[in-house]
């Protein structure tokens, strides 16, 4: 099987690749977003804690 045949998907390329594309975007988005949120929470709590102690 050649590479172009692979991407052609027997004529169903538009359906197969858009399905996989949407899947990938949702999966990545869903994994990255909570990581960013957790880091933000950790940073915010650290800032608040430093503020409590007079900005040390």
């Amino acid at each position: 099987m050649s590479l172009s045949e692979f991407f052609y998907m027997g004529g169903y390329a538009a359906y197969v690749w858009s399905a996989y594309g949407i899947w990938l975007v949702v999966m990545v988005f869903n994994a990255v977003l909570p990581v960013i949120k957790l880091r933000q929470t950790q940073a915010r709590l650290a800032r608040r804690r430093n503020g409590d102690r007079g900005g040390s």
Binding site: M1, F6, M9, G10, G11, Y12, Y15, V16, S18, A19, Y20, I22, W23, V26, M27, N30, A31, P34, V35, K37, L38, T41, Q42, L45, A46, R48, R49
Partner: protein, 245 residues
């Protein structure tokens, strides 16, 4: 054994334990999904009726399985949280909702993209599709209700009731293809007797399903850790944690 579960139920221990667990789960999950994609897109032969279009199955079916599985886990955690007032269970319940909603969304969208070339339409109001759409609305309703209530413990009680009532939809989705004989095909794998699918096609599907399970577990744990910090931000262990950094 019981002390082990008891410790896992305590917030600081759960936070530390999941923090160590998530990277491992993440890498195993990435490996499984990569193997599943290779097996499904490259190694598996084309279908004798549907040609190459059937390859959407490798994301569609595991996503649909996960949409039901996560809902059941969420409702069970909600029930545990409601009955025994266990904080970790409440947190697991709400942290499952966004992952469940996205898998439901993926199942609907990929199913639609599969339906167009095979059925000639993106959407029909068939029993399976309609009940899965209701599942998406249940997930979104749970997330919306949770964010609408300021106090997190009150919010948890409210979404627990909604999640438990919504369980009625799960058997409807599962049996919809048998109760109402419409466009959506019946089960291929999860039925009595041998699955009507060849091993070279089935194996990548199961590998993908395992990868999706680990994905859910790791993303749900990251959500839980964030939720736990937010809820416990005034407690001693969070202060110690922040000071240690």
């Amino acid at each position: 054994m019981w002390t082990y579960f008891h410790r896992l139920g305590s917030a600081p221990h759960f936070y530390r334990f999941s923090g160590r667990l998530v990277p491992w789960l993440g890498w195993i999950c990435a490996g499984l999904i990569a193997a599943g994609l290779y097996g499904g897109l490259v190694l598996a032969p084309p279908d004798y009726q549907q040609g190459e279009s059937y390859r959407i199955i490798y994301i569609h079916v595991p996503s649909a399985w996960m949409s039901l599985f996560i809902y059941v886990v969420m409702a069970a955690a909600a029930a545990v949280g409601l009955i025994w007032r266990i904080k970790v269970a409440e947190i697991v319940a709400i942290s499952s909702a966004p992952v469940g909603a996205s898998f439901t969304f993926i199942a609907l969208v990929t199913g639609s993209l599969w339906g167009k070339p095979m059925w000639g339409t993106y959407w029909v109001w068939d029993a399976r599709l309609t009940s899965e759409l209701i599942l998406l609305f249940l997930y979104l309703g749970i997330i919306g209700l949770y964010t609408a209530i300021e106090d997190r413990r009150t919010a948890s009680r409210a979404i627990s009731v909604l999640a438990i009532v919504g369980v009625v939809n799960i058997p409807i989705i599962h049996y919809s293809v048998e109760w109402w004989n419409t466009l959506h095909q019946g089960p291929t794998v999860a039925k009595f007797g041998a699955p009507s699918i060849h091993l070279s096609m089935l194996l990548p599907l199961l590998v993908m399903a395992a990868g999706f399970k680990l994905y859910y577990l790791s993303v749900m744990l990251i959500h839980s850790r964030n939720e736990m910090l937010e809820r416990e931000r005034n407690s001693a262990w969070v202060r110690e944690l922040v000071d240690a950094r």
